[in-house]
C-alpha cells in the first residue's frame, strides 16, 4: 500500500529495491497505482546549505517532470509521467521494460531499424525545442513497444539551434567512443530517423552539429581566461 502523507511516501519509496544510484538521485522500482513504475528520488546533498539544496532539488524535479510530460505530448517514446512531488524531489514514471541500447548493440542483437527509431525520438523532442542533454546509448531502451529515450535529468528548453546540435554531437561522440566499428552504420540510420521527424529544422541542426565537430568544440574553442594561477 502507498501511504498518503509525503514523509510516509518517501520512507516507502526508500524501502523499494534500488536499481541504480547516479550522481544526484536514486532509481528504485515498484508499482504505482497498479502500474510498474520507476521512482527517481533526488537525494539531499550534505555539502550544500539546506535551503540551497532544497530549492535546487525542487526546481530540477519540477523541470524534469515538465519536460518529460511535454516530450510525451510531442509523441516521443518516453516514459509516461505518473506523478511528481517537487518538495520531496520525487518523480514517478512508467517503467520501460527492455534492454539498454548500449548492451543490445554490444551483444550483437541490434537491428538497423532500432537506430532509426532512436533518431526519431530525439527528433520529436527537438521539433518541440527540447534538448535532452545526455543522449547516449545508455539512455535508450529497446523494448517491445519500440525504442524509448529515458533520463531527462539534464534536459532543458532549447533556445538556439546550437542547443539542439549539442545533442547530436553528444550522441555521435558517445557512439564513436563506445561502438567504434559500428559508428558509421549507427549514425547513418540514426540521422535518417532524426531527419524524418524534424524536416528542415533537422537539416540545420545536423549542419550545426557538423560545425561543432569540425571546430573541435569542447577541446579548443572554449574560452579560458589568461591567468595561470
Amino acid at each position: 500500500m502507498v501511504p498518503v502523507n509525503l514523509e510516509g511516501l518517501i520512507g516507502w519509496v526508500r524501502s523499494l529495491p534500488l536499481a541504480s544510484r547516479g550522481a544526484e538521485s536514486e532509481i528504485r522500482l515498484g508499482t504505482w497505482m497498479g502500474v510498474e513504475a520507476v521512482f527517481k528520488l533526488r537525494i539531499p546533498k550534505a555539502y550544500m546549505h539546506p535551503r540551497l539544496d532544497h530549492s535546487l532539488r525542487m526546481a530540477r524535479t519540477r523541470r524534469e517532470a515538465k519536460l518529460l510530460a511535454r516530450a510525451h505530448s510531442l509523441g516521443a517514446k518516453v516514459p509516461l509521467l505518473l506523478g511528481v512531488f517537487p518538495s520531496a524531489g520525487l518523480i514517478v514514471m512508467e517503467r520501460i521494460r527492455g534492454k539498454v541500447l548500449r548492451d543490445h548493440i554490444t551483444s550483437g542483437e541490434y537491428k538497423s531499424d532500432e537506430f532509426k527509431m532512436a533518431g526519431e525520438v530525439l527528433g520529436k523532442l527537438h521539433s518541440g525545442w527540447i534538448s535532452h542533454g545526455d543522449p547516449t546509448t545508455s539512455n535508450y531502451i529497446v523494448s517491445r513497444g519500440g525504442v524509448y529515450l529515458i533520463d531527462f535529468g539534464l534536459a532543458d528548453k532549447a533556445t538556439s539551434i546550437e542547443d539542439l546540435a549539442v545533442d547530436i554531437h553528444l550522441f555521435r561522440r558517445a557512439v564513436e567512443s563506445t561502438h567504434a566499428p559500428l559508428a558509421r552504420e549507427i549514425l547513418d540510420h540514426f540521422l535518417e530517423g532524426y531527419l524524418a521527424a524534424t524536416g528542415s529544422l533537422g537539416n540545420r541542426v545536423v549542419e550545426r552539429a557538423e560545425e561543432i565537430r569540425l571546430r573541435g568544440r569542447y577541446v579548443e574553442e572554449r574560452r579560458r581566461t589568461v591567468w595561470g594561477g
Partner: protein, 359 residues
C-alpha cells in the same frame, strides 16, 4: 614541441637512481623555484616571491617587472636551501603555460638561459598538469578526480587514455577571479588574502544564506559571471554584505563540488583531490570532504603551501617527464598562454615522484 630526446642524466649514467630537477614557475603572480629529488625527502628547495598589488588587480606588465627583479634572488635562495649548485641538477623544468604572457616570458627566459649555460635538458611543463601531479604526490591518491580551483582556472579533471581530460570547467570566469573581483568591487580588498583568509571568507563570518542569487550548473560546466553580476547588484541595492558574501561563496563552492561529484559518478572514481590556490580555503575543503564521505570515497586536499603556485610542482612534474625522455630544445621552448591540459601526454601516469626512486 616536446621532442622526445634521449638525454639521460649524468647521475643515472653513474649508476645512481637519484634524479634532481629544478623547476621554475612564473605563470601568474608567483615566481617560484623548486628543486626535487627522486629520493626521500623529495622536496629539496621551495623558494618564491609573490606579487601583491597595493590597489586594484594584477597587471601582467607590473608582474613581469617584479619577476625580473626577484628571479635571481629566488634562484639563489632555492640552490642554497638544497645545498646544490646548478651543476648538480639533472634538468631544468619550466612552466611554459597556460598563463599571462609577460609573466611566462620571464620564467622561460631564465630557464632557457640556465639550460644553455649549464648544458642541462630543458623540460616543458604544463602548469595545470603540475597542480594535479603535486596533488597525487602529496595525497597519495594515485588515480583521483581533480578539482582544480585557482585565480584563473576552475576545472574538473580526470585521467583517461594518456592524458588528463577536462570533464567540466567554468564557462566564463574562474572561481578565484569571482571571489577577488567581488571583494575588490565592494571595497573589501586588496589585500585579497590576509591571515590565511580571503576577504570574502572574513566578510561571510557573520552572514546567513539569502535567496535570490543564481546557481548555474549546465551539465558538466559551471558559470560564475551571472552570479558575480547578481551579487554586485544586490550589494548596490543595500543588502547586508555579510549575507551576500556567505551566499556567493556557498553557491560558487557548491556548484564546483557538484560537478566534481558528477565526474566521480560518471568516471567511477573513488577518490577526489582538491588542488590550486583556492584549495587553501577551509570551507571548500569541508564541502569536498562531505561530498566524498557521502559517496564513501577518499579525498585529499593539497596543503596551502603546495596548493598555490610554486616551483616544486613544476620540478616534480619535470622529473616525471624527464624520466620519460620528454625534453624540449632551447630554441623551441616558446611560451603557450592558452596551453590546454588535455593537449599534454602524461606517459608516467599513475606513477608519482615516489615511484622513480625504484628505477
Amino acid at each position: 614541441m616536446a621532442s622526445a630526446a634521449t638525454q639521460s642524466s649524468s647521475h643515472r649514467e653513474n649508476g645512481s637512481a637519484d634524479l634532481i630537477v629544478l623547476g621554475i614557475e612564473s605563470t601568474a603572480h608567483t615566481f617560484g623555484v623548486g628543486i626535487v629529488s627522486s629520493r626521500d625527502p623529495y622536496i629539496l628547495a621551495d623558494a618564491r616571491r609573490q606579487y601583491k598589488p597595493k590597489s586594484g588587480g594584477i597587471l601582467p606588465r607590473e608582474v613581469a617587472a617584479f619577476f625580473s627583479n626577484v628571479a635571481g634572488e629566488v634562484l639563489a635562495e632555492a640552490l642554497s636551501q638544497a645545498g646544490l649548485t646548478l651543476k648538480d641538477v639533472d634538468g631544468i623544468a619550466i612552466a611554459l603555460g597556460p598563463g599571462m604572457g609577460p609573466a611566462l616570458r620571464i620564467g622561460a627566459t631564465v630557464a632557457r638561459a640556465l639550460a644553455s649555460r649549464y648544458r642541462k635538458p630543458l623540460v616543458p611543463v604544463n602548469h595545470a598538469v603540475a597542480h594535479i601531479e603535486v596533488a597525487r604526490f602529496v595525497t597519495g591518491l594515485r588515480d583521483p578526480v581533480a578539482i582544480y580551483v585557482a585565480g584563473g582556472n576552475t576545472s574538473i579533471l580526470s585521467y583517461s587514455e594518456g592524458r588528463y581530460r577536462v570533464f567540466g570547467e567554468t564557462l566564463d570566469i574562474a572561481l578565484g577571479n569571482l571571489l577577488d573581483t567581488f571583494a575588490r568591487e565592494v571595497g573589501i580588498a586588496p589585500p585579497y588574502v590576509s591571515g590565511g583568509k580571503h576577504a570574502v571568507d572574513k566578510c561571510a563570518e557573520d552572514g546567513r544564506y539569502i535567496d535570490g542569487l543564481p546557481y548555474v550548473v549546465k551539465g558538466q560546466d559551471v558559470s560564475y559571471s551571472g552570479l558575480l553580476t547578481a551579487a554586485l547588484r544586490m550589494a548596490k541595492g543595500g543588502a547586508r554584505l555579510g549575507d551576500i558574501c556567505y551566499t556567493l561563496r556557498e553557491i560558487a563552492f557548491s556548484s564546483i563540488v557538484e560537478v566534481g561529484e558528477r565526474c566521480m559518478a560518471h568516471t567511477r572514481r573513488d577518490s577526489v583531490v582538491l588542488t590550486g590556490g583556492v584549495a587553501a580555503n577551509k570551507v571548500l575543503a569541508m564541502k569536498v570532504a562531505s561530498m566524498a564521505e557521502s559517496r564513501r570515497a577518499r579525498h585529499g586536499v593539497v596543503p596551502p603551501r603546495l596548493a598555490g603556485d610554486n616551483g616544486v610542482m613544476i620540478a616534480l612534474t619535470g622529473a616525471l617527464a624527464l624520466a620519460h625522455g620528454i625534453t624540449v630544445r632551447v630554441e623551441e621552448a616558446i611560451i603557450r598562454q592558452r596551453w590546454r591540459v588535455d593537449r599534454v601526454d602524461v606517459p608516467w601516469y599513475p606513477s608519482t615522484l615516489r615511484d622513480l626512486s625504484g628505477g
